[in-house]
C-alpha cells in the first residue's frame, strides 16, 4: 500500500497534470522569448523577478503546507544576503561559507519555530512581523558587523561554484542560475508533498489534534516546515546578494516581507507554482505601472484589492476554476 500511495501521489502531483504542464510550458516559452528577444533591462528584471519569486515561493510554501502567513520572511532573506556578504568580506571560502549561512538560517529558524509553532492565525503573523522587525533593527544598529544603513558590498571571487564570478552579476547569467535553482526547489517541494512527511504536514495543517491522537508528535515537524520555508527565503537572499553586489537594511524591512506576501497572495497557494507566477506578474506589473504614473503604488493597490476580492485563490484559484470548466465540458462532450 505504501509504494502504491507514493506512486499515486506523484502521479497526481499538479505539475504532472495537463494543466500543470500547460502552465509550465507557457512560463518556459515566455521566459525563452524574453531571454532571446528581450532588452538588457528586461533580462535584468527577469533575473530579479526570478530571485524574488524564490522568496515568494518560501512564503507560499509555509502558507500551503502549514496554513501560516508570515509577515517576517524578509528576515531569513536578509540573513541569507548579509551572511553571503560577510562570507566574502571575511575571506571565508565561499563554497563552504554560503552553505554554512543556509545551515545557520535553518538552525536559527528551527529554534524560533519551536516557539512560534505553537501559534496559529493572526497571532503567528504578528509574531513573525515582530521578529522580522527585530532583525531589521538589529542589522541597522550592529554597525560594526553590518555597516548599518551604509550596507555591505559583495565582492565576488574569480570563480564560484565552478562558474566565473562575473556570471552571477550579469542578467542572463543570474537569470539562468536563479531559474535552475527555482525549478529545483519547486520539484523538491512537489516531492516533499508526495512523501509521507509531506502528507503528515498536510495532516497537521488540516487537523493537528487528530494527528496527535494518531500517535505523532507535531512540534518538531512544524518547526522543520517553518525552518525549511525560512531557508528557501535564505537561498533567495544569497542569490540577491550575489546579483546586486550590495546589501542594505531595506531588504530586512517588513515592507519587503509584505511584498513577498502580496506576490504569494496574487499567485495563490492552491498549487506550488502560484507564488512564483504571482511574483513574476507583480514584478512586471510594477515596472509597467511605474512607467505610466508616479502614483503606481495606489494603482497596484487597487488592482491587488480587486484580484483578492474577485479571486481569493489568486492565479491558482483561477486556474482551478478554468480546469474544472474545461474538464466539465470535456466530460459532457464525452458523454454525448
Amino acid at each position: 500500500m505504501a509504494n502504491q500511495t507514493l506512486a499515486h501521489s506523484f502521479r497526481e502531483s499538479p505539475i504532472l497534470r495537463p494543466s500543470g504542464l500547460i502552465v509550465l510550458a507557457i512560463l518556459t516559452a515566455t521566459v525563452a522569448i524574453l531571454t532571446v528577444t528581450g532588452s538588457r533591462i528586461t533580462l535584468s528584471l527577469l533575473a530579479q523577478a526570478t530571485i524574488i519569486s524564490i522568496l515568494a515561493l518560501s512564503v507560499g510554501f509555509l502558507a500551503r503546507t502549514a496554513d501560516l502567513i508570515s509577515f517576517g520572511h524578509a528576515a531569513p532573506f536578509g540573513l541569507g544576503a548579509y551572511g553571503t556578504a560577510l562570507v566574502f568580506q571575511h575571506g571565508i571560502p565561499a563554497e563552504v561559507g554560503i552553505w554554512l549561512v543556509l545551515v545557520a538560517v535553518f538552525a536559527l529558524f528551527f529554534l524560533i519555530g519551536l516557539v512560534v509553532g505553537k501559534l496559529n492565525g493572526i497571532a503567528f503573523s504578528m509574531l513573525t512581523l515582530a521578529l522580522g522587525q527585530f532583525f531589521f533593527v538589529a542589522i541597522s544598529k550592529l554597525r560594526a558587523i553590518t555597516s548599518g544603513a551604509d550596507g555591505l558590498t559583495v565582492s565576488l571571487p574569480r570563480s564560484l561554484f565552478g562558474l566565473p564570478g562575473r556570471t552571477y552579476q550579469t542578467p542572463d547569467g543570474m537569470f539562468i542560475i536563479a531559474a535552475v535553482i527555482l525549478a529545483a526547489l519547486v520539484i523538491l517541494i512537489y516531492l516533499f508533498e508526495a512523501s509521507r512527511t509531506g502528507r503528515l504536514a498536510i495532516g497537521v495543517r488540516e487537523n493537528e489534534e487528530r494527528v496527535l491522537f494518531l500517535g505523532y508528535r507535531t512540534k518538531i515537524l512544524k518547526a522543520a516546515v517553518f525552518a525549511t520555508s525560512a531557508t528557501i527565503a535564505g537561498v533567495s537572499g544569497v542569490l540577491f546578494a550575489l546579483y546586486q553586489g550590495f546589501v542594505s537594511p531595506e531588504i530586512v524591512h517588513w515592507s519587503f516581507s509584505g511584498n513577498a506576501l502580496i506576490m504569494a497572495i496574487l499567485g495563490g497557494s492552491l498549487a506550488v507554482w502560484g507564488p512564483v507566477a504571482g511574483a513574476l506578474v507583480f514584478f512586471f506589473l510594477r515596472e509597467w505601472l511605474s512607467d505610466l504614473t508616479e502614483h503606481w503604488l495606489a494603482v497596484l493597490g487597487v488592482i491587488l484589492i480587486a484580484v483578492t476580492v474577485a479571486w481569493p485563490g489568486g492565479m491558482t484559484g483561477v486556474a482551478k476554476v478554468l480546469r474544472a470548466r474545461i474538464s466539465g465540458r470535456g466530460r459532457k462532450g464525452g458523454g454525448k
Binding site: Q4, R199, I202, G203, F213, G215
Partner: protein, 233 residues
C-alpha cells in the same frame, strides 16, 4: 477481577461549574461499554479527560499501569485510541493516504483488513472531502482502529448517520469488539445502536454517576427514565 482500562474518580470543572464529578468506570477486552445520559451529562467530557485531550481530575490505568496525564500521542502508541464527536479526518488527503498516515503513527498492521471490513475499498483513492458523510464517519472510525488498539473510546460515532448507516455501524462495532478483542467505550445518543452493541451501560446525569447495569436492566429503570425525561410518569 483485573480490568484492561480503569478510570477512577474522573472529574472536570470549568471555572466554578462542575461538569463531571467522581465518575469511575472499567473496561474489559472484547466488550462494548456504553456511556449514556442526557445532553450535558458529561459523557464527552469524560472521554476528553481520560484520553488526555483536556486536563481533569482522577486517575487512569491501562493494564494496571497508571497512565494519568500522558500525552495523546503517547496514549495512542500505548494502544488507546479515540474518535471525536465531530468527524475528525483530513479532507484534502485521499482515504488511502490518511489510513497510511494513521498506520505509520500507530505502529500499523491491520489496514487491509480494516478497509475490507468497513467497505472503503471503492473510495481509497478519493479525497475525503469528496466522499459521503457516512463514508467519512467510517474513515474516522478506520483512523481510530488502525494499529490494532486495545482500547477504543468512541464519541458519538453514529451522529448524523441515517438509520441504515447506523445499523451497519453497529455491526462493525460488534465485530471490532469480538473479533479483535478490543475494549470499547461508546458514547452515543442513538439508543438502537446502544442497545444492540453494548453489554454494559453506565448512565451519567448532570456530571455524576447515576447507575450501571446491562441494557436489559436499565431499559425500564425509573432513575434513567427520569434523567432523560425529567419524570418517570
Amino acid at each position: 477481577m483485573s480490568f484492561l482500562f480503569r478510570c477512577e474518580n474522573i472529574g472536570k470543572t470549568y471555572g466554578g461549574v462542575v461538569a463531571l464529578k467522581d465518575v469511575s468506570l472499567n473496561l474489559e477486552s472484547g466488550q462494548v461499554h456504553g456511556l449514556i445520559g442526557p445532553n450535558g451529562a458529561g459523557k464527552s467530557t469524560f472521554i476528553d479527560v481520560v484520553s488526555g485531550r483536556t486536563p481533569g481530575l482522577g486517575r487512569v490505568f491501562f493494564e494496571d499501569r497508571e497512565i494519568t496525564g500522558i500525552s495523546p500521542s503517547a496514549m495512542r502508541r500505548a494502544g488507546i485510541s479515540r474518535s471525536f464527536q465531530r468527524t475528525s479526518i483530513f479532507p484534502a488527503l485521499t482515504v488511502r493516504d490518511q489510513i497510511e498516515l494513521a498506520n505509520h503513527g500507530a505502529g500499523g498492521g491491520n489496514t487491509d483488513e480494516l478497509v475490507e471490513m468497513l467497505g472503503l475499498g471503492a473510495v481509497l483513492d478519493t479525497e475525503a472531502e469528496q466522499i459521503s458523510y457516512g463514508q467519512q464517519r467510517l474513515v474516522d472510525l478506520a483512523l481510530a482502529l488502525v494499529g490494532n488498539p486495545r482500547v477504543l473510546l468512541l464519541d458519538e460515532p453514529a451522529a448524523g448517520l441515517s438509520a441504515p448507516e447506523s445499523a451497519v455501524l453497529s455491526g462493525h462495532l460488534e465485530e471490532i469488539a469480538e473479533r479483535w478483542n478490543v475494549a470499547v467505550l461508546l458514547v452515543e445518543h442513538d439508543m438502537d445502536v446502544i442497545f444492540r452493541v453494548c453489554k454494559v451501560l453506565t448512565v451519567l446525569a448532570s456530571g455524576r454517576f447515576l447507575v450501571q447495569g446491562t441494557p436489559a436492566d436499565l431499559r425500564n429503570n425509573p432513575a434513567v427514565i427520569e434523567a432523560y425525561f425529567g419524570s418517570t410518569a
